[in-house]
């Protein structure tokens, strides 16, 4: 168990030590959201209508941006092999790294989203649901991203490849995440969407570590 904690602590320490990682992701998220009113126009009703979708889609892209470093750094400096041949099961290694990635990017994105909601005139009663949906959805992005990052390890143009692989698979998260916020915005109950989002998260929690571990094993083969 302490091997799991060791990996988690080291990755969090690395994320803190070069804090740039988290701040660039948040910076991208803010700029990407701010661009929409410039394109779509300032009418509050229009912005409020598209707010859930824009916030969620941009959070998705922001989370993807920071995934490339998940295994790439370990792969290049040679620590991936000792990590895989230690007492820690590869599946748990993936879980530890995905959790560290989520704490460093997913969580800040979820907290920043309601604030950026103000840019898009998102009604305040929809903000708690936005936060809840992102808290449920961003872990899935970290898990799916871990699979993508493990698959694209050592590949040419890994970041683009990562996006092409992970985006189609994250459609359910985007649909139910934005759907929850939209139903909260229009007064409907958001809980069904949030529940489905939670179940998608559980499926990802079960499937992704196994897939990513398999990808890591044959990446080092």
């Amino acid at each position: 168990m302490n091997a799991f904690v060791a990996v988690l602590r080291r990755d969090l320490l690395l994320a803190l030590r070069d804090g740039a990682g988290t701040w660039t992701v948040l910076g991208f998220f803010a700029i990407a959201v701010a661009v929409f009113p410039l394109g779509v126009g300032p009418e509050p009703q229009v912005l409020a209508r598209i707010a859930p979708g824009v916030l969620w889609a941009m959070a998705l892209l922001a989370a993807l941006l920071s995934l490339e470093t998940l295994f790439e750094a370990d792969y290049r400096d040679g620590s991936l092999e000792p990590l895989l041949s230690g007492a820690l099961a590869p599946e748990l290694l993936v879980l530890a790294k995905a959790l560290a990635h989520w704490l460093a990017t997913g969580l800040p994105l979820a907290i920043a989203a309601p604030v950026l909601g103000i840019f898009l005139n998102l009604p305040t009663e929809a903000m708690p649901v936005l936060l809840a949906s992102l808290l449920l959805g961003t872990p899935v992005l970290s898990l799916l991203g871990a699979v993508g990052a493990a698959l694209a390890l050592g590949a040419r143009r890994a970041t683009v490849l990562l996006a092409v692989m992970v985006l189609p698979l994250s459609a359910p998260v985007l649909i139910f995440g934005a759907g929850a916020v939209e139903s909260a915005q229009t007064g409907l109950a958001a809980t069904p969407s949030l529940l489905i989002l939670g179940s998608v998260a559980l499926v990802a929690l079960a499937v992704c570590p196994v897939a990513a571990a398999a990808a890591l094993r044959q990446a080092v083969e």
Binding site: A3, R17, D18, S79, E81, P82, S85, A87, E221
Partner: protein, 218 residues
């Protein structure tokens, strides 16, 4: 900290399921066959010197022994019949790269590897600092020379609990003192019942070591 006769290791080795037997093993890396028909027996206290030209498969052999690579054919089994792939924690692989994070200091890197290896209390630097890198403890790795990084990386062996050491040209980028320390550490590990497989270009031979040549360059 002389380690000529003393035991530089914090935790003694529990009894280990040696020997690790390789019978008629063929290894394939990507689409090219690297070597085939290899027989090898690694016993407790044993030392294997593996020589061969670059690309002859020395590193591939180490990765196979570490369980990272499946033999394309033939069998590689521990004494208790389990394949290295199932019990990777029985081998410690020290490759060409240092496996250290430049953004962290030497102390943080070694503390991580100690916790990862499951050592309760990190023996470095108090009870075991074979490469005397204690002075570099709080310096970010980025600023160290290749030789210094190598010594910090090899210090990981001080708390490695795996019975089988797989060292890929460990003496590169080391000065004479560092190289002597490597061989002393290997001797100490053999004395406590461990086994070591070293790939090297050095010509000299070591007492009680078996030799293996890969590729047909004799």
């Amino acid at each position: 900290m002389p380690i000529m006769s003393g035991n530089p290791f914090a935790s003694p080795l529990p009894p280990q399921p040696f020997p690790l037997m390789l019978r008629d093993v063929t290894a394939v890396c990507g689409e090219t066959r690297v070597f085939s028909g290899l027989d090898m027996a690694i016993d407790a206290g044993g030392l294997w010197l593996v020589r061969g030209a670059n690309g002859a498969g020395k590193t591939t052999l180490l990765r196979l022994l570490a369980g990272l690579l499946r033999p394309a054919s033939g069998a590689s089994l521990w004494g208790d019949g389990r394949a290295p792939r199932a019990v990777p924690e029985r081998a410690t692989l020290v490759g060409h790269q240092e496996a250290l994070k430049p953004a962290l200091t030497a102390a943080e890197n070694l503390a991580f590897w100690a916790r990862f290896a499951g050592v309760e209390e990190n023996p470095w630097p108090t009870r075991s600092d074979p490469f005397s890198v204690w002075a570099l403890a709080d310096v970010p790795l980025r600023t160290l020379s290749a030789g210094q990084k190598r010594r910090v990386s090899l210090t990981r062996l001080a708390f490695a609990r795996a019975p089988l050491w797989l060292l890929d040209e460990p003496t590169t980028a080391l000065d004479a003192a560092g190289q002597r320390t490597v061989w002393e550490l290997i001797a100490a590990h053999r004395r406590r019942g461990g086994a070591v497989v070293v790939t090297t270009h050095a010509k000299g031979t070591v007492e009680g070591a078996s030799e293996l040549h890969l590729g047909d360059e004799r």
